[in-house]
Amino acid sequence: MDFLNDWGLTLVTFLPLAGALVMMAIPKEEEKVLKQAALLTSLATLAAGIWLLVEFDYDRAGSLQYVVDKNWIEVIGSGYTLGLDGMSLPLLALTVLVMPLVFIYSWDHIPSPGNAKAFLALMLILETGMIGTFVAQDLILFFVFFEVVLLPMFFMIAVWGGEDRRYASLKFFLYTMFGSALMLLGFLALFFLSKDPVTGELLRTFDMRVLTDAAGAGIVRSSQLLIFGGMFLGFGVKVPLFPFHTWLPDAHTQAPTQGSVILAAVLLKLGTYGFIRIAIPMLPEAAEAWAPWIGLFAVIGIIYGALGCLAQTDMKRLIAFSSVAHMGFVMLGIATLTDFGINAAIFGMVAHGLITGMLFFIAGSVKERYHTLEIKRLGGMLLQAPRLGWILGFTSMASLGLPGLAGFWGEFPAILAAYQPANGIPEETFRGYMVVAAIGTVLAAGYLLWLLQRTAMGEPSEEFANDPHITDVNRFEWIAWSPILFLIVLFGVAPGLIFDVTDPAVVESLNNCLQLPDGCEGVAAATTAMFGG
């Protein structure tokens, strides 16, 4: 137990990196050994993650556990601070779960031009970056992990991607870098301006716990708004929030299947996580001022993403645009600044990670069989590969928010939360957003069912009618996919599994908001009324 307390988070963060280093020593030709090494590493990480989950004290889910606090860069007052609470736990679990599945899928799906060694090693480095971002409790450490993710993903798209991979990878890299450079400026301003709320002394710290407690005390409103603006750009690009979303369809379409799955399942969550972990708790006053705008961009994203989906001719691009819409729901939940809305957002992140990740797996497999993702040319999948077709149908249902599956608990409460946002945020505006978002769910049903109709139903098109390559789901796909399918049902039936963990942490992080002069009493009321306390 002591070991877990002191080393647990470090272990789960750096195990993948250690695995990647070990893989460097294995010769390139030994593909099988390399795949085994990568899979074993990710399974070991999963085991470490499960161990952390089991030993986690769920009665204290609101406070950080397994805290590590060591010196790292003393000259700038930054520490190696890690911790896990109910807000980061579901995302950590999602990451450690999805990665082994991706490695299993890679067993017989190494994209062209091959070189399994580099491909798998990059994914392991990526895993370290993602886990580190979710457990970091120091702004600079967070920033470093946040950026470590960029390079492997850049290379994954650039080397193993589709036709336009060069353009897509550069666009992805430049967009995110632009956001994070301004975000870093925001962090620095926070460092120099934050004061202790009690004594009024300058804090001069990057410790996220301290800054969350300070909640922007002593920073004048105009500076708060600017700092929040920097973070808004950094996180908003990553989410991606309309109008910063244009990198996403390109990156998704061009990335190899594994890249798309990781991008959808985990990478996009780094942005939303940044909002709920850093931007909002540390600058509640600015968050209140920005909330209507975030909400506006979110609902534009919902409608724009949905309309974009309706116009797509490529299956993968369609799923990418549906990501924009779904992340819009998540952002709408966050913009309400209520306990209820943010819980819904975290649920939405996990659900979107599982469901959209799954859709990209399916798209990858379809591409492999048909060598195209053009919706017009596909059809009759239910006849040719019935299991694949049914899995597509099931996941589409989950994605459009069918009650009883995970997607529902991400969308419905987010819309509901918009009915009554936190005090100090214009209610009428958010009720308007609510209506628009509800229309968005109808559009979502529209584009997903239409996709299903065009690809899975009907007769197979002539060119593929007798194609022997079109086989049903194979062994590796079953192993990789069944845990995701199972979890989509499980979280759909028992959403409390996630809500119970996240709620205490969300309440804790919003406490500061509750202390605002006129703000946020509404949060408590709304929580009691809607969420049952």
């Binding site: 860069i73 950026e147 870098m177």
Partner: protein, 502 residues
Amino acid sequence: MLAQLAQQTESFVRPAIDWHAVAPELTLLAVGALVTLLDIVFLERGRRFTSAVAAVGLLITMVPIVTLALDGNDRSLFSGAFVVDNYALVMKALFVLSAYVVVLLSANYVAEGDYWENEYYGLVLSSVLGMVLMASARDLITVFVALELLSIPAYMLASWRKRDLKSNEAGIKYYLMGVFASAILLYGMSLLYGSAGSTLLTDINSAVGASGAPSAVVVLGIVFVVVGFGFKVSAVPFHTWAPDTYEGAPTPVTAFLSVASKAAGFVALMNLLFVGFVERGDIYEPLLWVLAALSMTVGNLIALRQTNIVRMLAYSGVAQAGYMLAPLAVASSVPDTALSATVTYLVIYAAMNLGAFVVVMAVARKTRSAEISSFNGLFSYAPGLAVAMSLFLFALAGIPPFGGWFAKFRVMEAVIEAETTSGLVLGVVVAVNSVIALYYYARIGLGMWANDAPDGDLTPVRLPFSLASALILTGGVTLVFGVLPQLVGDLTQVSLLSGIGG
């Protein structure tokens, strides 16, 4: 008359010399003399040893630097004209180690190119001597002597490939621009001397640092000094020599110029600025702000269009100089942070930029080209070099966990800490420029990883021992400084204000 003179000479009392404090300079001088002697005594047979002697000599020079650092006392000689403090020692170590890497780079290049070897290393060593002296110079005369001592050999080194027109152009251009800059600098110095009545920087500080509006002479003096060093560090709009000189000079010399010589320019500027007129922020800050913002923006925008990697690195070096100038533009409000930020940047920049040149030279051994397109497909035939080059390029772009991010972070920290609007705007300029720069760095990365090798030629690159060791040295330092920035942070927590009682 003569008798009188003789009498005066007798009455001359040698100032007390702390031999330990000047040991690094004396060692370098001895090594330089030894290299020259080897040539005279052994003639052609000495050729084989010169590079080794120079390299070992540079490592030996590190010994007194380290002992001085361990000793820890600040030493001041010649009534304050020559000072050995932590800042001076860090910079001396930087110069000596950069020169060591440059010698490693030169070993095969100079020998295989059939250039004059003994003279080459002798000139490198005397240039380094000038730089090491510069780190301690706290007096106008000393600064100027050090500057000429480091520049004049560099002019000759730039035109070392004497049968090549471009190399001649490089040398001439560098020489003319350098002399022009020296003249401007000297004029500025004379004005400062005129208003202070002393060449000691501390005296100048007490004369010009007084409150109230500065006299026109002081304003002109400071502006000319800053502009003079603007040439040396290739800040826009005084950068025009850099791309041509870098392209024409032998590649190891280019590496030397872009790292050590540029750092020496910064050291001189910082000596003058922090010891000589730190409180005159009203004069130098707007000037440096404009120089920094212009250097970053113009350097990066022109770098976008380059097809030759050395020219691209030259323009990227111009932009990097802009980042290093940025903290100096807020030097009067946060002097210690600003100095520390620029020193940090210089140290990390030396490692990553030298590293990039190592890879450029290694690849050029095979492709015989410096075109960016010659890097296409590098990953397919030399994965190690491709990974190393990616490391250096993304370090230059400032992507964690490679060293460059911490350097940029310190720059941003300094400009934000000033808590002025102009500082904040400069921070945004730095942030936006990092994104512009990422484009051309990442494009090379893309070419190495995602494109096919030209002509499908997949023969591996043979790496001579000296290049391999230079690669490991620079790569290791770049990576370690990125992951454990505290190491470089400890080194660069320096101050220049103690000398002026600040």
